[in-house]
Protein backbone atom coordinates (compact mmCIF):
# COMPACT_ATOMS: atom_id res chain seq x y z
CA UNK A 1 0.00 0.00 0.00
CA UNK A 2 1.34 3.38 -0.97
CA UNK A 3 1.74 6.22 1.52
CA UNK A 4 -0.41 8.77 -0.27
CA UNK A 5 -3.79 9.46 1.32
CA UNK A 6 -3.21 6.97 4.08
CA UNK A 7 -3.89 7.34 7.80
CA UNK A 8 -1.13 6.41 10.24
CA UNK A 9 -2.52 4.66 13.30
CA UNK A 10 0.02 2.00 14.28
CA UNK A 11 3.62 1.31 13.31
CA UNK A 12 2.47 -2.23 12.51
CA UNK A 13 0.48 -0.90 9.56
CA UNK A 14 3.81 -0.39 7.77
CA UNK A 15 6.11 -2.83 6.05
CA UNK A 16 9.87 -2.70 6.10
CA UNK A 17 9.89 -1.43 2.51
CA UNK A 18 7.52 1.38 3.35
CA UNK A 19 9.62 2.39 6.35
CA UNK A 20 12.77 2.34 4.24
CA UNK A 21 11.03 4.51 1.65
CA UNK A 22 10.25 6.94 4.49
CA UNK A 23 13.86 6.93 5.68
CA UNK A 24 15.11 7.79 2.18
CA UNK A 25 12.64 10.64 1.99
CA UNK A 26 13.65 11.83 5.48
CA UNK A 27 17.30 11.82 4.42
CA UNK A 28 16.43 14.00 1.40
CA UNK A 29 14.62 16.35 3.78
CA UNK A 30 17.70 16.48 6.01
CA UNK A 31 19.80 17.47 3.00
CA UNK A 32 17.36 20.19 1.98
CA UNK A 33 17.29 21.51 5.55
CA UNK A 34 21.04 21.62 5.81
CA UNK A 35 21.31 23.51 2.53
CA UNK A 36 18.60 25.89 3.72
CA UNK A 37 16.58 25.24 0.56
CA UNK A 38 13.42 23.31 1.28
CA UNK A 39 10.92 22.81 -1.53
CA UNK A 40 7.53 24.19 -0.47
CA UNK A 41 5.69 21.17 -1.81
CA UNK A 42 2.80 21.58 0.64
CA UNK A 43 2.16 25.22 -0.20
CA UNK A 44 -1.55 25.98 0.21
CA UNK A 45 -2.25 22.88 2.28
CA UNK A 46 -3.75 23.07 5.77
CA UNK A 47 -2.83 20.71 8.57
CA UNK A 48 -4.99 20.47 11.69
CA UNK A 49 -3.42 19.68 15.04
CA UNK A 50 -6.06 18.12 17.29
CA UNK A 51 -4.16 17.71 20.54
CA UNK A 52 -6.67 16.64 23.16
CA UNK A 53 -3.76 15.87 25.45
CA UNK A 54 -0.86 18.23 26.08
CA UNK A 55 2.23 17.78 23.95
CA UNK A 56 5.32 19.80 23.26
CA UNK A 57 7.72 17.84 21.08
CA UNK A 58 5.28 15.98 18.88
CA UNK A 59 3.07 19.01 18.29
CA UNK A 60 5.89 21.49 17.71
CA UNK A 61 7.84 19.14 15.46
CA UNK A 62 4.75 18.45 13.33
CA UNK A 63 4.07 22.18 13.15
CA UNK A 64 7.66 22.91 12.24
CA UNK A 65 7.69 20.15 9.64
CA UNK A 66 4.44 21.42 8.11
CA UNK A 67 5.66 25.03 7.98
CA UNK A 68 9.03 24.08 6.49
CA UNK A 69 7.12 22.46 3.63
CA UNK A 70 4.94 25.53 3.13
CA UNK A 71 1.73 24.23 4.75
CA UNK A 72 -0.41 26.25 7.18
CA UNK A 73 -1.32 24.89 10.58
CA UNK A 74 -4.56 25.21 12.55
CA UNK A 75 -5.60 23.46 15.74
CA UNK A 76 -5.76 23.37 19.48
CA UNK A 77 -3.97 21.71 22.35
CA UNK A 78 -4.54 20.50 25.91
CA UNK A 79 -6.93 22.60 27.97
CA UNK A 80 -7.99 24.50 24.88
CA UNK A 81 -9.41 21.25 23.52
CA UNK A 82 -12.01 21.24 26.27
CA UNK A 83 -13.31 24.66 25.29
CA UNK A 84 -13.13 23.79 21.59
CA UNK A 85 -15.25 20.75 22.24
CA UNK A 86 -17.81 22.48 24.53
CA UNK A 87 -19.18 19.06 25.31
CA UNK A 88 -18.92 17.96 21.69
CA UNK A 89 -17.82 14.40 21.15
CA UNK A 90 -14.65 13.36 19.34
CA UNK A 91 -16.57 12.19 16.27
CA UNK A 92 -18.13 15.62 15.67
CA UNK A 93 -14.85 17.45 16.26
CA UNK A 94 -13.11 15.21 13.72
CA UNK A 95 -15.92 15.64 11.16
CA UNK A 96 -15.58 19.40 11.51
CA UNK A 97 -11.77 19.39 11.24
CA UNK A 98 -11.78 17.06 8.26
CA UNK A 99 -13.91 19.60 6.39
CA UNK A 100 -11.39 22.36 7.21
CA UNK A 101 -8.03 20.70 6.75
CA UNK A 102 -6.15 18.36 4.37
CA UNK A 103 -4.75 16.24 7.19
CA UNK A 104 -5.34 15.84 10.93
CA UNK A 105 -2.72 15.01 13.53
CA UNK A 106 -4.46 13.77 16.67
CA UNK A 107 -3.29 13.09 20.20
CA UNK A 108 -5.82 11.73 22.69
CA UNK A 109 -5.76 10.18 26.14
CA UNK A 110 -8.04 7.31 25.14
CA UNK A 111 -6.68 4.23 23.40
CA UNK A 112 -8.28 3.73 20.00
CA UNK A 113 -9.14 7.42 19.51
CA UNK A 114 -6.90 7.69 16.44
CA UNK A 115 -8.31 4.58 14.76
CA UNK A 116 -11.83 5.81 15.46
CA UNK A 117 -10.97 9.28 14.11
CA UNK A 118 -9.51 7.70 10.95
CA UNK A 119 -12.79 5.85 10.40
CA UNK A 120 -14.77 9.09 10.63
CA UNK A 121 -12.43 11.54 8.90
CA UNK A 122 -12.55 12.19 5.17
CA UNK A 123 -8.86 13.23 5.22
CA UNK A 124 -5.83 11.22 6.47
CA UNK A 125 -5.37 11.05 10.23
CA UNK A 126 -1.96 10.73 11.86
CA UNK A 127 -1.83 9.29 15.35
CA UNK A 128 0.31 11.52 17.56
CA UNK A 129 -0.24 9.19 20.50
CA UNK A 130 -3.41 7.47 21.77
CA UNK A 131 -3.32 6.79 25.50
CA UNK A 132 -0.83 4.10 26.38
CA UNK A 133 -1.19 2.40 23.01
CA UNK A 134 0.49 3.70 19.84
CA UNK A 135 2.87 6.46 18.85
CA UNK A 136 3.81 5.42 15.31
CA UNK A 137 5.62 8.58 14.17
CA UNK A 138 7.82 8.46 17.29
CA UNK A 139 8.73 4.87 16.39
CA UNK A 140 9.51 5.98 12.83
CA UNK A 141 11.87 8.72 13.97
CA UNK A 142 13.42 6.39 16.57
CA UNK A 143 14.19 3.76 13.94
CA UNK A 144 15.52 6.49 11.67
CA UNK A 145 17.80 7.69 14.48
CA UNK A 146 19.26 4.19 14.90
CA UNK A 147 19.76 3.86 11.17
CA UNK A 148 21.45 7.29 10.90
CA UNK A 149 23.64 6.95 13.97
CA UNK A 150 24.70 3.31 13.61
CA UNK A 151 24.23 2.81 9.88
CA UNK A 152 21.76 -0.06 10.26
CA UNK A 153 18.87 -1.40 12.31
CA UNK A 154 19.41 -5.12 11.69
CA UNK A 155 21.84 -7.22 13.68
CA UNK A 156 22.05 -4.87 16.68
CA UNK A 157 21.45 -5.56 20.35
CA UNK A 158 18.80 -3.31 21.89
CA UNK A 159 17.93 -2.63 25.51
CA UNK A 160 14.56 -0.97 26.13
CA UNK A 161 14.51 0.39 29.65
CA UNK A 162 11.64 1.84 31.62
CA UNK A 163 7.89 1.78 31.78
CA UNK A 164 7.02 -0.72 29.07
CA UNK A 165 3.50 -1.14 30.40
CA UNK A 166 2.12 2.39 29.98
CA UNK A 167 4.79 3.92 27.72
CA UNK A 168 3.49 4.06 24.17
CA UNK A 169 6.82 5.24 22.74
CA UNK A 170 8.68 2.20 24.11
CA UNK A 171 5.97 -0.24 22.98
CA UNK A 172 5.81 1.34 19.51
CA UNK A 173 9.60 1.21 19.19
CA UNK A 174 9.60 -2.49 20.10
CA UNK A 175 6.78 -3.17 17.64
CA UNK A 176 8.68 -1.19 15.00
CA UNK A 177 11.68 -3.48 15.53
CA UNK A 178 9.51 -6.43 14.43
CA UNK A 179 9.85 -5.01 10.91
CA UNK A 180 13.64 -5.49 11.07
CA UNK A 181 16.04 -8.18 12.23
CA UNK A 182 17.61 -7.12 15.51
CA UNK A 183 19.96 -9.64 17.06
CA UNK A 184 18.38 -9.24 20.48
CA UNK A 185 15.93 -6.98 22.28
CA UNK A 186 16.35 -6.88 26.06
CA UNK A 187 13.30 -5.71 27.98
CA UNK A 188 14.41 -3.97 31.15
CA UNK A 189 11.61 -2.72 33.39
CA UNK A 190 10.70 -2.43 37.07
CA UNK A 191 8.38 -5.19 38.32
CA UNK A 192 4.78 -4.68 37.14
CA UNK A 193 5.86 -2.37 34.35
CA UNK A 194 6.65 -5.05 31.78
CA UNK A 195 5.01 -5.20 28.34
CA UNK A 196 1.25 -5.61 28.37
CA UNK A 197 0.02 -9.05 27.35
CA UNK A 198 -1.34 -7.93 24.00
CA UNK A 199 1.97 -6.29 23.06
CA UNK A 200 3.95 -9.32 24.20
CA UNK A 201 1.66 -11.48 22.09
CA UNK A 202 2.36 -9.38 19.00
CA UNK A 203 6.08 -9.42 19.70
CA UNK A 204 6.07 -13.21 20.01
CA UNK A 205 3.86 -13.66 16.93
CA UNK A 206 6.43 -11.73 14.91
CA UNK A 207 9.28 -13.81 16.33
CA UNK A 208 11.18 -10.84 17.77
CA UNK A 209 14.09 -12.17 19.89
CA UNK A 210 13.09 -10.54 23.20
CA UNK A 211 14.36 -11.40 26.65
CA UNK A 212 13.78 -9.85 30.04
CA UNK A 213 16.99 -8.72 31.70
CA UNK A 214 18.61 -6.48 34.27
CA UNK A 215 20.56 -3.56 32.87
CA UNK A 216 23.75 -4.37 34.79
CA UNK A 217 23.78 -7.87 33.30
CA UNK A 218 23.53 -6.79 29.66
CA UNK A 219 25.01 -3.28 29.48
CA UNK A 220 28.21 -4.54 27.82
CA UNK A 221 26.23 -6.16 24.96
CA UNK A 222 24.05 -3.21 24.00
CA UNK A 223 24.34 -1.18 20.81
CA UNK A 224 21.25 0.86 21.63
CA UNK A 225 19.87 1.74 25.06
CA UNK A 226 16.36 3.15 24.72
CA UNK A 227 15.25 4.82 27.96
CA UNK A 228 11.75 6.03 28.81
CA UNK A 229 10.22 7.75 31.80
CA UNK A 230 7.61 6.25 34.09
CA UNK A 231 4.25 7.40 32.67
CA UNK A 232 2.81 9.01 35.77
CA UNK A 233 -0.35 10.20 34.05
CA UNK A 234 -1.40 6.70 33.02
CA UNK A 235 -1.17 5.00 36.39
CA UNK A 236 -4.64 4.07 37.58
CA UNK A 237 -3.34 4.17 41.17
CA UNK A 238 -1.10 7.10 42.29
CA UNK A 239 0.37 4.95 45.10
CA UNK A 240 1.59 2.44 42.52
CA UNK A 241 3.39 5.30 40.77
CA UNK A 242 5.04 6.42 44.01
CA UNK A 243 6.40 2.90 44.46
CA UNK A 244 8.10 2.70 41.08
CA UNK A 245 9.17 6.28 40.36
CA UNK A 246 12.90 6.69 40.40
CA UNK A 247 13.33 2.92 40.10
CA UNK A 248 16.05 3.35 37.50
CA UNK A 249 18.54 6.05 36.63
CA UNK A 250 21.39 6.15 34.15
CA UNK A 251 24.51 7.67 35.68
CA UNK A 252 28.14 7.59 34.51
CA UNK A 253 28.74 4.54 36.72
CA UNK A 254 25.81 2.68 35.08
CA UNK A 255 27.67 2.96 31.80
CA UNK A 256 30.90 1.37 32.99
CA UNK A 257 31.44 -1.60 30.73
CA UNK A 258 29.25 -0.25 27.92
CA UNK A 259 30.50 -0.40 24.33
CA UNK A 260 32.20 2.80 23.24
CA UNK A 261 29.75 3.38 20.41
CA UNK A 262 26.59 2.40 22.27
CA UNK A 263 23.92 5.07 21.81
CA UNK A 264 21.40 6.20 24.41
CA UNK A 265 18.00 7.28 23.13
CA UNK A 266 15.00 8.75 24.95
CA UNK A 267 11.72 9.98 23.43
CA UNK A 268 11.77 12.92 25.93
CA UNK A 269 10.68 14.50 28.16
CA UNK A 270 12.97 12.94 30.70
CA UNK A 271 12.32 13.32 34.40
CA UNK A 272 15.33 11.91 36.23
CA UNK A 273 16.01 8.67 34.34
CA UNK A 274 19.16 10.05 32.74
CA UNK A 275 21.69 11.97 34.79
CA UNK A 276 22.57 15.31 33.15
CA UNK A 277 26.24 14.32 33.23
CA UNK A 278 25.43 11.80 30.48
CA UNK A 279 24.41 14.58 28.09
CA UNK A 280 27.99 15.49 27.29
CA UNK A 281 29.07 11.90 26.56
CA UNK A 282 29.29 10.42 23.07
CA UNK A 283 26.56 7.96 24.04
CA UNK A 284 23.87 10.64 24.38
CA UNK A 285 21.78 10.86 21.21
CA UNK A 286 18.41 11.93 22.62
CA UNK A 287 18.62 15.55 21.51
CA UNK A 288 19.75 14.48 18.07
CA UNK A 289 16.87 12.01 18.07
CA UNK A 290 14.44 14.88 18.80
CA UNK A 291 16.04 16.86 15.95
CA UNK A 292 15.52 13.96 13.53
CA UNK A 293 11.81 14.35 14.33
CA UNK A 294 11.67 17.28 11.91
CA UNK A 295 12.96 15.63 8.69
CA UNK A 296 11.08 12.41 9.52
CA UNK A 297 7.79 14.25 10.06
CA UNK A 298 8.42 16.36 6.94
CA UNK A 299 8.87 13.11 5.03
CA UNK A 300 5.68 11.66 6.55
CA UNK A 301 3.64 14.74 5.61
CA UNK A 302 5.07 14.77 2.09
CA UNK A 303 4.45 11.07 1.50
CA UNK A 304 0.88 11.18 2.85
CA UNK A 305 -0.16 14.43 1.14
CA UNK A 306 1.86 14.43 -2.05
CA UNK A 307 3.07 10.85 -2.52
Amino acid sequence: MAWRGRSIVSILDFSRNELEELFQEAYRMEEQLSKGRVEKILDGRIIAMAFFEPSTRTRLSFETAAKRLGASVIGFTGEEAISVAKGENLADTIRMLSSYADLIVIRHRYEGAALYASEISSVPVINGGDGRQHHPTQAMLDLYTVSRELGRIDGLVYGVLGDLRYGRAAASFILGLTRFKPEKVYLISPPNLGLRREVRMLVEDHGLPVEEARLEDVIGELDVLYVTRVQKERFPDPEEYERVKGAYRITPSTLEGAKGDMIIMHPLPRVDEIDHRIDATRHAKYFKQAAYGIPVRMAILKLVLAG
Partner: protein
Amino acid sequence: MVARGDNGLTVRKIESGTVIDHIPAGRALKVLRILGVKPEHGYTIAVLMNVESRKIGRKDIVKISGLEPKVQDFHKISLVAPTATINIVKDYEVVRKEKVRPPERVEGILRCINPTCITRQHREVVIPTFRLVSGNPLVYQCIYCGSLLEEKEILEQLA
Protein backbone atom coordinates in the same frame (compact mmCIF):
# COMPACT_ATOMS: atom_id res chain seq x y z
CA MET B 1 -41.84 -32.49 25.08
CA VAL B 2 -41.67 -33.96 28.60
CA ALA B 3 -43.34 -37.28 29.36
CA ARG B 4 -43.37 -39.65 32.27
CA GLY B 5 -41.75 -42.89 31.15
CA ASP B 6 -40.91 -46.10 32.98
CA ASN B 7 -37.74 -44.62 34.45
CA GLY B 8 -39.14 -41.23 35.47
CA LEU B 9 -39.10 -38.03 33.43
CA THR B 10 -37.67 -38.22 29.94
CA VAL B 11 -37.33 -35.57 27.26
CA ARG B 12 -38.90 -36.56 24.03
CA LYS B 13 -37.81 -35.65 20.53
CA ILE B 14 -39.18 -32.34 19.35
CA GLU B 15 -41.27 -32.05 16.21
CA SER B 16 -39.54 -28.96 14.95
CA GLY B 17 -37.16 -26.47 16.44
CA THR B 18 -33.60 -26.42 17.69
CA VAL B 19 -31.53 -28.74 19.84
CA ILE B 20 -28.34 -27.21 21.17
CA ASP B 21 -26.09 -30.04 22.28
CA HIS B 22 -22.60 -30.24 23.83
CA ILE B 23 -23.02 -27.07 25.85
CA PRO B 24 -20.31 -27.00 28.57
CA ALA B 25 -21.99 -28.17 31.80
CA GLY B 26 -23.64 -25.34 33.69
CA ARG B 27 -23.98 -22.92 30.77
CA ALA B 28 -27.45 -23.88 29.43
CA LEU B 29 -29.14 -20.88 31.00
CA LYS B 30 -26.45 -18.57 29.61
CA VAL B 31 -27.25 -19.92 26.15
CA LEU B 32 -30.94 -19.17 26.64
CA ARG B 33 -30.12 -15.72 27.96
CA ILE B 34 -27.86 -14.80 25.08
CA LEU B 35 -30.48 -16.00 22.61
CA GLY B 36 -32.96 -13.75 24.37
CA VAL B 37 -35.48 -16.60 24.62
CA LYS B 38 -38.05 -15.79 27.28
CA PRO B 39 -41.10 -17.68 28.55
CA GLU B 40 -43.46 -15.04 27.14
CA HIS B 41 -42.25 -15.87 23.62
CA GLY B 42 -44.30 -19.03 23.90
CA TYR B 43 -41.61 -21.57 22.96
CA THR B 44 -41.60 -24.86 24.80
CA ILE B 45 -38.12 -25.22 26.25
CA ALA B 46 -36.35 -28.20 27.77
CA VAL B 47 -33.11 -27.72 29.62
CA LEU B 48 -30.99 -30.72 30.55
CA MET B 49 -28.08 -30.01 32.78
CA ASN B 50 -25.03 -32.00 33.75
CA VAL B 51 -25.78 -34.89 31.42
CA GLU B 52 -23.00 -37.42 30.83
CA SER B 53 -21.20 -36.91 27.53
CA ARG B 54 -18.63 -39.10 25.83
CA LYS B 55 -17.13 -36.08 24.11
CA ILE B 56 -16.88 -33.48 26.84
CA GLY B 57 -17.45 -35.33 30.15
CA ARG B 58 -20.51 -33.47 31.36
CA LYS B 59 -22.71 -31.30 29.22
CA ASP B 60 -25.93 -29.34 29.06
CA ILE B 61 -28.55 -29.64 26.33
CA VAL B 62 -31.22 -27.12 25.39
CA LYS B 63 -34.22 -27.96 23.24
CA ILE B 64 -36.40 -25.15 21.98
CA SER B 65 -39.54 -26.15 20.17
CA GLY B 66 -40.48 -23.89 17.27
CA LEU B 67 -37.32 -21.78 17.18
CA GLU B 68 -35.09 -21.60 14.12
CA PRO B 69 -31.88 -19.71 14.95
CA LYS B 70 -30.38 -17.03 12.74
CA VAL B 71 -26.69 -16.77 11.82
CA GLN B 72 -26.24 -14.11 14.49
CA ASP B 73 -27.60 -16.59 17.06
CA PHE B 74 -24.95 -19.15 16.05
CA HIS B 75 -22.32 -16.51 16.74
CA LYS B 76 -23.78 -15.60 20.10
CA ILE B 77 -24.00 -19.24 21.18
CA SER B 78 -20.37 -19.79 20.23
CA LEU B 79 -19.31 -17.08 22.67
CA VAL B 80 -20.81 -18.81 25.72
CA ALA B 81 -20.65 -22.40 24.50
CA PRO B 82 -17.75 -22.82 22.06
CA THR B 83 -18.17 -26.63 22.03
CA ALA B 84 -21.89 -26.55 21.17
CA THR B 85 -23.54 -28.35 18.27
CA ILE B 86 -26.75 -26.95 16.86
CA ASN B 87 -29.31 -29.34 15.40
CA ILE B 88 -32.22 -27.95 13.42
CA VAL B 89 -35.17 -30.35 13.60
CA LYS B 90 -38.11 -30.60 11.20
CA ASP B 91 -40.76 -33.33 11.40
CA TYR B 92 -38.75 -35.10 14.11
CA GLU B 93 -35.72 -35.33 11.83
CA VAL B 94 -32.44 -33.43 12.15
CA VAL B 95 -32.27 -31.52 8.87
CA ARG B 96 -29.12 -29.57 9.70
CA LYS B 97 -26.36 -30.14 12.18
CA GLU B 98 -23.61 -27.62 12.78
CA LYS B 99 -20.84 -27.11 15.24
CA VAL B 100 -20.66 -23.51 16.32
CA ARG B 101 -17.58 -21.53 15.45
CA PRO B 102 -16.60 -18.30 17.18
CA PRO B 103 -16.90 -15.51 14.58
CA GLU B 104 -13.73 -13.81 13.34
CA ARG B 105 -15.24 -10.44 14.21
CA VAL B 106 -17.76 -9.55 16.90
CA GLU B 107 -19.49 -6.20 16.72
CA GLY B 108 -21.63 -4.76 19.46
CA ILE B 109 -22.18 -7.81 21.68
CA LEU B 110 -19.16 -7.53 23.94
CA ARG B 111 -17.74 -4.64 25.94
CA CYS B 112 -14.06 -3.74 26.16
CA ILE B 113 -12.51 -4.32 29.60
CA ASN B 114 -10.26 -1.25 29.35
CA PRO B 115 -11.92 1.81 30.92
CA THR B 116 -9.75 4.17 28.85
CA CYS B 117 -10.68 2.53 25.53
CA ILE B 118 -12.47 4.91 23.16
CA THR B 119 -15.35 2.41 22.97
CA ARG B 120 -16.02 2.92 26.69
CA GLN B 121 -16.58 6.68 26.42
CA HIS B 122 -20.27 7.32 26.70
CA ARG B 123 -20.25 10.41 24.49
CA GLU B 124 -18.83 8.51 21.55
CA VAL B 125 -21.01 6.29 19.39
CA VAL B 126 -18.26 3.86 18.38
CA ILE B 127 -19.36 0.22 18.24
CA PRO B 128 -17.14 -2.09 20.33
CA THR B 129 -15.52 -4.43 17.82
CA PHE B 130 -13.35 -7.46 18.52
CA ARG B 131 -11.25 -9.78 16.41
CA LEU B 132 -10.82 -13.46 17.20
CA VAL B 133 -7.36 -14.29 18.55
CA SER B 134 -7.95 -17.86 19.70
CA GLY B 135 -10.93 -20.23 19.49
CA ASN B 136 -9.87 -22.51 22.32
CA PRO B 137 -9.48 -21.04 24.86
CA LEU B 138 -11.67 -18.28 23.54
CA VAL B 139 -9.81 -14.96 23.31
CA TYR B 140 -10.90 -11.79 21.51
CA GLN B 141 -9.01 -8.54 21.03
CA CYS B 142 -10.49 -5.04 20.92
CA ILE B 143 -9.61 -3.57 17.53
CA TYR B 144 -9.47 -0.07 19.06
CA CYS B 145 -7.28 -0.42 22.15
CA GLY B 146 -5.79 -3.90 21.70
CA SER B 147 -7.01 -5.23 25.06
CA LEU B 148 -7.57 -8.96 25.24
CA LEU B 149 -10.94 -10.33 26.31
CA GLU B 150 -10.80 -13.86 27.66
CA GLU B 151 -13.45 -16.56 27.94
CA LYS B 152 -14.04 -15.93 31.64
CA GLU B 153 -14.71 -12.23 31.03
CA ILE B 154 -16.87 -13.00 28.01
CA LEU B 155 -19.00 -15.35 30.10
CA GLU B 156 -19.31 -12.79 32.88
CA GLN B 157 -20.45 -10.14 30.43
CA LEU B 158 -22.98 -12.39 28.81
CA ALA B 159 -24.32 -13.82 32.09
